[in-house]
């Protein structure tokens, strides 16, 4: 009898989780990469996709439809405080509807073993009010503005020559797609999919010694003159 009750309860809970919600749900695309997250938001006005990485912002109380895909191996999308897991499987698109109830910062984490750096494939989640979210999304949609500051200009130049094969900064010349979109990296909370908290020093360390901080990461060490390293870190920090 107890089992029957449990089975029925489990079934009802599952139906509730799977309930198709309103069609005007916010659409988000999450793509797993070894070992970071590509995030894309559908612009409600234009229908264009707005790209960012490793930091997911969600409006509180609204249903978000997340499409999950993978660029390489199987990953699993999991924000324990917001919703259960769903796998990201190459060749398939999984859909999960979530409705965050509580505002605040949460941590998400890949939950399916995906290779040597599975442990450092996390992301930050910020659940915020609709107004905050709209402002954030509009900002993410904008391109980076070129700076007149000579140090930042120097940093942008070095970034374009050394980093642009893999990274994109919209509004600049960097258009690589292999790594995360860095257009607004300066506004994010952490570096390298939750490996270390965001700071200029952290960026410098990450650029110089990624294999020491996250052994096995796809990011190669980039050797720069100290002045250039500082300029690149300042430039990235300025990409708010």
């Amino acid at each position: 009898v107890a089992l029957t009750v449990l089975i029925v309860a489990s079934f009802m809970a599952d139906r509730k989780l799977a309930d198709a919600r309103s069609a005007e749900a916010l659409q988000v695309r999450v793509t797993g990469h070894q070992w970071w997250w590509r995030l894309e938001y559908r612009d409600p006005a234009t229908g264009a996709w707005i790209e960012t990485a490793n930091e997911l912002h969600l409006p509180v109380g609204r249903t978000i439809r997340i499409e999950l895909g993978s660029a390489d191996v199987i990953h699993s999308f999991w924000v324990p405080n917001v919703a259960g897991k769903m796998d990201l499987i190459p060749g398939r698109i999984n859909v999960i509807d979530i409705t965050p109830r509580r505002a605040g910062w949460f941590r998400g984490q890949c939950a399916e073993f995906c290779g040597v750096q599975h442990a450092h494939m996390a992301f930050d989640v910020k659940v915020e009010t609709q107004a905050e979210f709209d402002a954030w999304l509009a900002h993410q949609a904008s391109a980076a503005a070129p700076s007149q500051d000579p140090v930042l200009a120097r940093g942008a130049l070095v970034f374009d020559t050394k980093c642009s094969a893999c990274h994109v900064v919209r509004g600049a010349r960097a258009t690589g797609r292999a790594g995360p979109d860095l257009t607004h990296i300066g506004s994010r909370r952490s570096i390298a999919a939750g490996t270390l908290p965001f700071s200029r020093g952290g960026l410098q360390g990450w650029i110089a010694q990624p294999q020491a901080l996250k052994p096995g990461t796809m990011m190669p060490a980039v050797s720069l003159e100290p002045a250039d390293a500082d300029a690149v870190a300042r430039y990235l920090e300025s990409l708010k």
Partner: protein
Amino acid sequence: VTPEIPLPDAETRHRQLLATWGDAPGLWGFLTTVDHKRIAARYVLTAVALLFLAGLLAVDMRLQLSQPDMGRMGPQGYNEAFALHGSTMLFLVSVPVMEAMAMWLVPLMLGARTVAYPRLAAFSYWLYLGGVLMLWISHAIDITPDLGWFEYPPLSGPAYSPGHRVDIWAQMITFSEVAALAASVNVIATILKMRPPGMTLGKMPLFVWAMLVASVMTVFALPSVMLVTSMLISDRMVSTHFFTPSGGGDALLFQHLFWFFGHPEVYIIFVPALGFVSAIVETFSRRTMFGYVPMVLAMLGIAALAFGLWVHHMFAVGLPRLGNAFYTAASMAIALPAGVQIFCWIATLWTGRLRYATPLLWVIGFILTFVIGGLSGVMAASAPLDLQLTDTYFVVAHLHYVLVGGAMFPLFGAFCYWYPKATGRLMSERWGKVSFALIFIGFNVGFFPMHLLGLEGMPRRIYTYGPEMGWGTLNLIATIGTFISAAGGIVFVANAFLSMKRGEPAGDNPWGGGTLEWATSSPPPAHNFDDSPVVDSAVPLWDDKGELLVMTGLASDCREVLISSAVDAVPEYRHKSPTPSIWPLIAAVATSILFVGSIFTPWALVWGAIPVGAALAAWFWPNRPRAGDADEAEQSE
């Protein structure tokens, strides 16, 4: 059965039988033996050695996780450690050790002289040893598998795992599964065709029932995993794209095929443990089992359900929700037969006159941990709840509660219980209790906190975590628990070794057991029984207060066994059992060369088959006289 010719006296027959069934002395005898007891003992010792090695890996991993940001092992080292730990424990320890116990015990419980296919038993062991050596020699030369005990493509495919680490893992499975299939067929044939007159299916000891069920499950489940790892190897070697989405394959196909095997496998490990528990409960409560028929039906129910719930390992892959609900119901339904068994044991213990020796302590430890493991299993079976629990430490805790608590504790109990039969000496009870206490306490201290860690969001298979996660304290407790149980393990093994020389002589039946293995001497002679027993109950030694009923008519000057009918055990004919032979070893070596060679080139399947074929031809060369030609029997094969 009336003898037609006058029998030689008992003493002469005993000597004749020893000469007939004994092995050649020395190394040659070691390599050629087909004595099921010697082979099974090797199996058990190999598995125990691996249990120790894989346990060391667990200690190593626990040290790495004991505190946040530990630098003891890098990610590669940690990934190799959990892959090797899991693969060894699941494929090379748990399944083989259960088969080995069956290979040792089943003929003795049936009053038979040997197993149905003695040479196949030798082949099983040698091939299993080949798999063990391949995996652990690979580890020694740093080509350790590093993707866990189930290696999902595309991660394990050629694009993301170049090199041979995955091939070693996949081929290790081929080794262990061929060996396990051979052993299972052997156990099934022995149980169905070699029971003593009178032992109908309804009078078989429950352990024999358990092994019959587990072996039939093995025969149905294992082809699936051999298929899936072979597909993985061909994806890797000849680009077949079974699992590559861009080539028209499907990454999920692997998971379905793997878990169609993987879930029954858990019960293939667990059902024999039910048999151990039943045997121990019966002897130490000194009464026959309460509910024999429900026990058998429960085992059959578990076996049937086990094949219908593999999807509960895949609730998060995005299958249709209604389908998930079906598998939730099937998974929870397992609790019913499992519950029936628990209640039958409790009823037996409740109404029996208990004797608290070490084997019974292990059984009580088993019941306690298994109930916890069962409850966490019911939790994880619920699809919506599992979406939070799966791939976290909650699952790590659950699987260790059911596999260690549910299968290893009964195994340790069985080890203590049958140790005097195998060695002729008793293990020290005092140290036995110490080792039980240490392992039981250490296990619970080590694994219970993992439930909480899982609920706090700690995913499995991470080599480190940051201090901000707040998982440090519970992890430290878990590590301490691991050390306590490791100490208990050392006490257990030391006790077993020292008792071999120093233990008190056991006599034939130290525990007062009721099944046939206690009727022969300890350790049993090469031919097991001087006189083949005849039975009329499930506990013949308890019912026949005087002499055990025996039959005559089997030759003592050649290897003859009695074949009986599958259901009613009516004697059918006398069968000539094979003599010792070197060919099983040579065939196993040839097969190993084929398997290892096929990691490097598909052509190994072609040229590697030639020596295998030659060895098999020599093995089966018809140079044995058929049954009935007793007078011409040659022992010179």
